[in-house]
């Protein structure tokens, strides 16, 4: 019975194991088509509008990549947290405070030259996200507060905090003068704007930064001692504790790092894309970043294509809403289904791993 030579069957099984979670997307799209049919919309029309909007032209592709940038950055934070065995649902709030902090610094210090202000604004965004992640992190490591719930609450607090600042202290003075009072900050000084790669297309250097970060996270997790310990804690906290790894410390670190990446995403969004802080700066990236991270098999490099894919889905959804009047909320429902499918498909890999153990 024990057969250690990987035969054709074993090879097929391994391929299936790798591909099975990826089937979640076509399955979810199929169910989405059923919903569309129920709403008396031709799924082919809707989906072709979506495809057109996501990759139909050079411009469409650039918009997809712009959307993919925050997804990837948030997703990297999710990957680190997940590898360390903690769940970070707080990307949304961490992104918002990162964007707020970067905005506040760059407007407040607008006299600084580019070489100082631009990196400082990014760093302040990272730090703000880290602080926001450290609250659930410390509560988890010191007192054992469930991080899933505390990160969700931190999202709401960040959102209200941002609403407060954008309607009061941080509102664009021009809005006050004009009496329109749109809740947004003043324009960021030009020296912190991230370089656009091919103007007038709005694709900015933040996309490159995100990809570089993905490689750095890969090196961090698989080539450094801290990364090794994070993965050890995630795989088996008990064994890690016996090996002398301070598990609570690494769990807190994971949430702080997760927050840092979401904070960076926020800074990049305001400095690269909007050039000001506004309401809805996050528009759900904290959650869609989870989907991208999961779909990338919780690997930093896998998150790159996954975030492009889901960036395209979000952009295509907007196009679908404009072209055939199907609300883009359909995309949220599809994203939810993808999550359900991907986490459900895990059972197959686990069962196989167990069989391998038993069969030696």
């Amino acid at each position: 019975m024990p057969d250690n030579k990987p035969g054709i069957k074993e090879y097929l099984n391994r391929t299936l194991e790798a591909l099975l979670p990826l089937l979640g997307l076509p399955l979810a799209l199929l169910l989405g088509a059923v919903m569309l049919l129920a709403l008396k919309v031709n799924p082919l029309t809707a989906y072709s509008a979506m495809l057109e909007g996501a990759v139909g032209s050079g411009y469409a592709i650039s918009v997809t990549l712009i959307k993919a940038t925050p997804l990837l950055l948030v997703g990297l934070g999710i990957v680190i947290a997940y590898r360390g065995g903690v769940v970070n649902i707080g990307g949304e709030g961490q992104l918002i405070v990162g964007a707020l902090a970067a905005t506040a610094l760059s407007i407040g210090m607008s006299a600084w030259p580019r070489w100082a202000l631009l990196p400082m604004s990014l760093i302040v965004g990272v730090l703000a996200g880290a602080v926001w992640g450290s609250v659930p992190g410390l509560l988890k490591s010191r007192i054992g507060v469930n991080e899933i719930l505390s990160t969700v609450m931190m999202n709401s607090i960040a959102l209200q905090f941002s609403n407060f600042l954008l309607r009061g202290p941080m509102i664009d003075p021009a809005e006050l003068e004009a009496g329109t009072r749109i809740a947004q900050s003043a324009l960021l000084p030009e020296q912190v704007w991230l370089t656009r790669m091919a103007p007038p297309i709005r694709l900015h250097s933040g996309a490159i930064l995100a990809v570089v970060m993905a490689f750095l996270v890969y090196i961090f997790l698989w080539r450094t001692t801290i990364g090794y310990r994070i993965r050890a804690v995630g795989l088996n906290p008990h064994a890690s504790r016996y090996a002398g790894i301070p598990v609570p410390f690494y769990q807190a670190l994971c949430l702080i790092l997760g927050g840092s990446f979401a904070g960076l995403a926020g800074a990049v969004e305001v400095m690269g894309l909007h050039h000001r802080m506004m309401e809805g700066v996050s528009s759900g990236y904290g959650f869609s970043g989870i989907v991208a991270a999961l779909f990338g098999k919780l690997h930093p490099l896998g998150a790159i294509p996954a975030s492009v894919l889901f960036g395209g889905l979000l952009v295509g959804g907007n196009q679908m809403q404009r072209a055939v009047q199907v609300p883009s909320a359909l995309i949220d429902a599809i994203l939810g289904l993808v999550v359900l499918f991907v986490v459900s498909a895990d059972i197959y890999s686990r069962k196989r791993a167990r069989r391998r153990e038993i069969n030696g």
């Binding site: 899933i148 909320a329 939810g336």
Partner: protein, 310 residues
Amino acid sequence: MAELFTLTTLFGILTSGIRLATPYLYAAIGETFAQCSGVLNLGVDGIMLMGAYSGFYVAMKSGNLWLGLLAAAVTGILMGLLMALVSVTLQAQQGISGIGLQLFGLGLSTLLFKTTLGGVESIAGFARIKIPLLGDIPYIGDAFFNHNILVYCAFLLVPLANWVLNRTTFGLKVRAVGQNPKAADTLGVNVTLIRYITVTLGGMLAGIAGASLSIALINLFQENMTSGMGFIAVALVYFGSWRPIGVMWGALLFSFINALQLWIQVLGIPLPSDIAVMLPYILTILALTFAANRASTPAALTKPFERGEA
């Protein structure tokens, strides 16, 4: 005159606090069952949204509020079954699958809202029922004995849930499955079945919680109208140490703070409303912090069960 005003305000806060506690109570009591059996259903918010939508839609189209309530309950049951399938049978990681369910419920309810209703409309929801005699007591009558039927039922649900969990064989099985599924299985308790029942029951109550918003409390449906209430309901279960009575106190405390926050705005007290709205969430984090030390967490919470596994 100033004193009378204060009394009116205080009882106003009490009245709206009791009313606001209703959706939290349904959702959190349902979640208590699920968590006691070892399943963390983080998708309560998505189920509430679907319940709120279906309850509203059916009530509006049929003109029958009870049919609306039934639709919300059935929707909740279906979503609960989906969660049970994913987290019990397929043993998916519960924190993440709950987020999936929440996204799905949020997306689908918004999609349906935009395609079938188009805009915000309101209906006449469940009317208030004044309890004879008791309801005529000044102040107290309005605060406690003049609510719609769903409010009364929510508070009756608390002792009922307490009795079921602590005094019935089913409740004992639920707690056994949540503490030590392996031992329960050895003694012949069907772990999978118990968890399916509790998660589905939790789903049904979350659906009703949604309807209690859309056809009894606010009487309209709008996009993402729960704005995270389901997550707070999940936190309330931790706060109440997995006991229905504790959950009720948590829900009341929470909704009083919420009511206070609303009244602060009504009375024009100069506290920025965005800051006031933050209060409940900060309170929840504090509550979780204080609740974290208690050792009553079901030992098998979030741990899937597989027969014959070490």
